[in-house]
Symmetry: D2
Subunit: 203 residues, 4 copies
């Protein structure tokens, strides 16, 4: 039945459990027809209009007369092409842009290496595309901006290994975001690693 | 732009904030085309197939050749038509059916009277429909199964007031679900009202 | 060392973990001498003055010239001696008294039968004292007011078994607190058992 | 009465509300006499034996034959006397020592400047003692290791102001712990300040 099937689809949405999926179903059943029609239309529309930048792999909405396969950041001539920040997800990019502190380029990896699967089974992560882009564009510095979690650290280490050959040849600078006290950290609860990093990078 | 507009639509979903709405957007952007097309199709389909029972106002999915405007519970001849349970929402109905302890009929009110608005502004609640149904079907007992919250209590009291004229004339029995210790209640934390009810209904 | 030893003692307090136990230690180290002296004095004092009622086993503070071994509730001639409510803990008694809805007597069992240990290893629970009290005082009704948890239900059932012989002989009434919707219960989340009870005890 | 008074005393313990204070009271009432006596003894003992280091103001337990007014860290000749880390609380010191990454000396300020009171009303904070210690001992570097909260930042700024005169004269180095990604930080949720710091301190 369509209702059960729709709920199964909502269950695949990120962070949605059975109870909320069902609530979505009843919400749509109770909503007016125009809302549902417009929603369905928009869902189809973004599959057409939202495309993946062929340079950084972020999603972006293209204008009607598509002139470029690149997102506005990649197309922006004022951004520093010598800096390439590798991030896990589109929302990371959006959040960093909001902070307004970075003016280089990005590369969206598509996630981090999961602990369960390891690096081998990560076909959805764009390691090859990253290698190709680095070799082709030769940025001066590659900033590995993965999360400060075990998954993020593993991913950063794996990227370093992948880029080693091209790095050896061309002496790129591969960096990681600085570690230390993040906003809100209290010394009473600080872990050894963060304390050690915060002490080393004191100034 | 379609992406921003889609996120606005997701923001109207129950329990969804800006962060999750955006995550939904990126999820759909990154999902394969077939998933999006099927989802859009299902959304349109349930607007066509999922209809509101003209007897109890619950949502249900009608078969292809629609023979009835009534849901399977209202159409079920084995359910006790002398018992009518008034509930707030479709999910309440579903949860009570799952418990398997009730064999009467239902009436879905559409919510409870919100504290902010009061009874006057509750155009989305089916008080009139309830009055009509009771007058027409003359159940022997009407069980007001609203939640044991202030909103639920207010709603039950308001229904009692509405049904007073028909009640006076025909001596219907209007009941409420029993109050007392619910599963998990500890005496250390019990409130006066629940304690009082639990004591009165001891057996 | 005294500091470590004190922290070990605080760790035995109900609900206190290592971090808070340590915080208590530093708090006392930093507090003024008078506070610590008064606290130590009070701890010794309540061991002297707070005694256990020999009738209901609740803790109470006796006046200087002790005239009775009974708490103020047991000594109160206006309380209904035909009603005996069996509760798990002193805090339950206090909470029920606060609700002001009960005017009978109490019996403090000392806890509930833990799932891990079963009924056999419950030497700290006063089943024998309850049996003796019931046989001696012959209340008309014994209300088993244990919590609506598995432990509480097991405990109530075990008491029923213990009191069976005296019950058979003298036809006491053994009741339990009524089950149903407690304040705050929403129908969307109600469990089968509570729904079933609420339906049976509707009125 | 002693019981109520004891509960009032427990209410002054850090993080303890009325319910838990009462639970502590019943716990002590129900505990055996030896436990209470030993607890009272320990409370008095730590007021005698746990003293405040006259050099760093941390609490420590002195040996029977007291030979020094200094804690084991201040008395330790292997610790680097040229490094002075200013921290808010004793538990901070303990946590940093546990990390094993710091080998200098400490100064326990006694807390942070609260937002409500401001710097004026902070008589319990040892700003004067810090000034005196710095002027007397002339460490090469003073690390302001307050928390990365508004209160911690305000406190660090206030200390910088206080130490300005002596700093100007003797060119001490006043540093703060490095800011950046702390363990667990995800880029999706990072705040602008942490992102900015993490970017600047990348390596």
């Amino acid at each position: 039945m369509a209702f059960e099937k729709l709920i199964e689809y909502f269950l695949k949405f990120p962070g949605i459990g059975p109870r909320q999926a069902k609530r979505f179903g009843y919400f749509l059943a109770g909503t007016d027809k125009k809302f549902a029609e417009e929603l369905a239309k928009l869902i189809l529309e973004i599959k057409k209009n939202v495309i993946q930048c062929q340079s950084c792999w972020s999603f972006f909405e293209s204008a009607a007369e598509r002139t470029s396969n690149n997102c506005s950041i990649c197309a922006n001539l004022n951004r520093d092409t010598l800096l390439l920040m590798v991030i896990e997800k589109d929302v990371d990019l959006e959040n960093i842009e909001k902070s307004g502190v970075y003016n280089g380029k990005y590369f969206v990896l598509g996630g981090a290496i999961s602990l369960a699967d390891g690096a081998k089974k990560q076909n959805h992560l764009r390691f090859k595309e990253l290698f190709d882009k680095v070799q082709k564009e030769m940025p001066k510095e590659i900033i590995l901006a993965t999360s400060a979690t075990i998954e993020g650290e593993n991913t950063a280490r794996y990227i370093e290994k992948i880029l080693e050959p091209v790095n050896k040849k061309f002496h790129l600078k591969i960096t990681r975001l600085g570690r230390g006290l993040s906003t809100g950290t209290e010394l009473e609860y600080i872990d050894s690693e963060t304390m050690s990093n915060a002490l080393k990078s004191r100034k």
